[in-house]
Symmetry: C2
Subunit: 343 residues, 2 copies
């Protein structure tokens, strides 16, 4: 079982997960060495299904094979024994158990395919799988926040090269998420509108940072980009919770995402990246604690953040949270707009 | 001139510094290739003084040579034209000029010496130089926050291998610092004591995370360590502002720091690291804005944070600010305590 520690002074949580130190580290991702359709050593390949813990969910492919597969993370950051409650406080050093869940979504049976290379229909299946699992995990009110993310490349923290993403159910709403929720709520209280809808409207009017608008999604280089070539993907239609996405909307999202990843590869090559789904906390968890869900449904807006590892973090970022970005997002948008991607 | 952009939703600043994209990137640091006492291409070496912008400050060495040298950063993240005020807001997209200063402290004339290898007396000179420059920069009330930090190794963001650290004067107090100040103030209001003094007392009683107590400084593996083998160095005597450090105290600090770096090298080898000075904002800037300085002097506590790059950040860290640390600080402290370092 992992342990959640509260940083009193930074007002954020840290997970102490000693078991994760044993997980395998990949070799070769980011280089062109991954060329095989399957690998005997890879637990995510077809034929190696017994190497993973028991399957949680699958999308079936042709001939009874699987097309997308969800399994528990063997080295979970959250999960295991779930005693729910807070551990006894020891003065200033607060802690609680890291209960929750940590799942892996294997995006394809094919060892050498990357997310950007998958057919749109396969990306739709991956996105729908995230929504299915998020809904299932949110049935448990102990799961305050569900995070879906993908680390591509070793420098982005990936430990296996076979294309996969991860879903975490956390017993707390992280402070960084709380701050975004509180900004959004304050804006809604003051203006009666979603701060993201307002920002999208301003961005679409300004045009300089918009990469494309496609099938109900806006792809842009955020005004407050932390990294060179950072990209965000927003649904134009207001919605706070990704898990409630309608089946049809996944088609547009898959298209926008595949094209965004293709643009990034065109501009930066096979750069390591992190893809994060920012979405609302579990309503079952929220409504129990404070009556804020109704506001949040109107105030918050889900979106994907695509963070290429195009720069190293240094003392400024670690010491102050202020990011130094050497590529203005207007310039990044110009380059990404011009990238050649499939129509 | 760089530009400071406000992230409305994350409530933090981003610096857009396009000029910095042109700075040189080092080769070979982290490998054993840096063995020469001087290098013709290195702007920080003796004899290459004309390669840097005009010197701001120096500590003299023997025979009229310099021992420590401060020069402006050629690719400043902050600085240049200083028009002080806020730029006109454009709706939700807030910005202001990145006025301030960005200086480089060359820690030694010797190209191959690293901070950990410098004699204690030289480290004292480096620390005193930081205090001198911090005081000078804080004479300007536009400099709301002065940050001193060191990036060691390319993966930690260093762009030149010759041992140096950096000092930034920023026109804002970063939000992450504000949050720490507000926690400290709230604790002081409630308890009448410094939250760091209280934490140190608790840590010294618990012992498990203390690495050593030496010459008035406590070296420990913080309870809320974000990275494996993270280390913090606190002065036992309460003080909020590093810039006011008494000359004598730099001796103890230099000793504690050199030993901490030696322990880290013993445990992890020549791992890239970031060293950050966490200290109070500029009192001249604070007192103008709100009458909180008196509380801060009692509530806040400066310290050094040593963050080895022993893990990669992934989607959890980027998406939620929650760090996953696979080495419990109690285990890190045990290993670091046992390291062989000079007495």
């Amino acid at each position: 079982v992992t342990e959640l520690r509260r940083s009193k002074i930074r007002q954020e949580w840290v997970v102490i997960a000693a078991d994760r130190a044993g997980r395998p580290m990949i070799t070769g991702l980011g280089e062109a060495s991954v060329t095989e359709e399957r690998s005997d050593e890879c637990p995510f390949c077809v034929g190696s299904e017994s190497m993973t813990p028991p399957e949680i969910y699958r999308v079936s492919g042709p001939d009874g094979a699987w097309s997308v597969r969800v399994v528990p993370n063997k080295y979970p950051a959250f999960g295991g024994r779930n005693d729910g409650g807070r551990s006894p406080r020891s003065g200033l050093l607060q802690r609680r158990d890291g209960s929750g869940a940590h799942e892996v979504v294997i995006e394809t049976p094919n060892h050498r395919m990357r997310l950007v290379d998958l057919p749109e229909s396969q990306i739709v299946a991956v996105l729908e799988t995230i929504a299915v699992r998020a809904r299932a995990l949110m049935a448990n009110p102990e799961h305050s926040y569900v995070l879906a993310f993908k680390n591509h490349g070793r420098e982005a923290g990936a430990s296996l090269s076979h294309s996969h993403l991860q879903i975490l159910a956390m017993p707390v709403v992280p402070e960084a998420v709380r701050r975004m929720l509180s900004t959004a709520s304050a804006h809604y209280d003051a203006e009666g509108r979603c701060v993201f809808c307002d920002t999208l409207e301003e961005e679409l009017r300004a045009e300089a940072r918009v990469i494309e608008e496609i099938d109900g999604f806006v792809v842009l280089a955020p005004y407050d980009s932390r990294m060179p070539f950072e990209v965000a993907i927003y649904p134009l239609e207001h919605a706070c919770d990704f898990a409630t996405i309608a089946g049809g909307a996944c088609n547009g999202l898959a298209r926008a995402l595949k094209r965004a990843l293709g643009r990034l590869r065109f501009a930066c090559g096979d750069v390591p990246y992190t893809l994060v789904l920012q979405t609302a906390p579990n309503p079952r968890s929220i409504s129990e604690r404070y009556d804020a869900w109704k506001t949040l449904t109107l105030a918050y807006h889900w979106r994907f953040e695509l963070l290429p590892r195009t720069a190293r973090l240094g003392g400024v970022e670690w010491g102050t949270g202020v990011h130094i970005n050497t590529v203005p997002p207007e310039e990044a948008a110009r380059v990404l707009r011009q990238a050649e991607v499939d129509a």
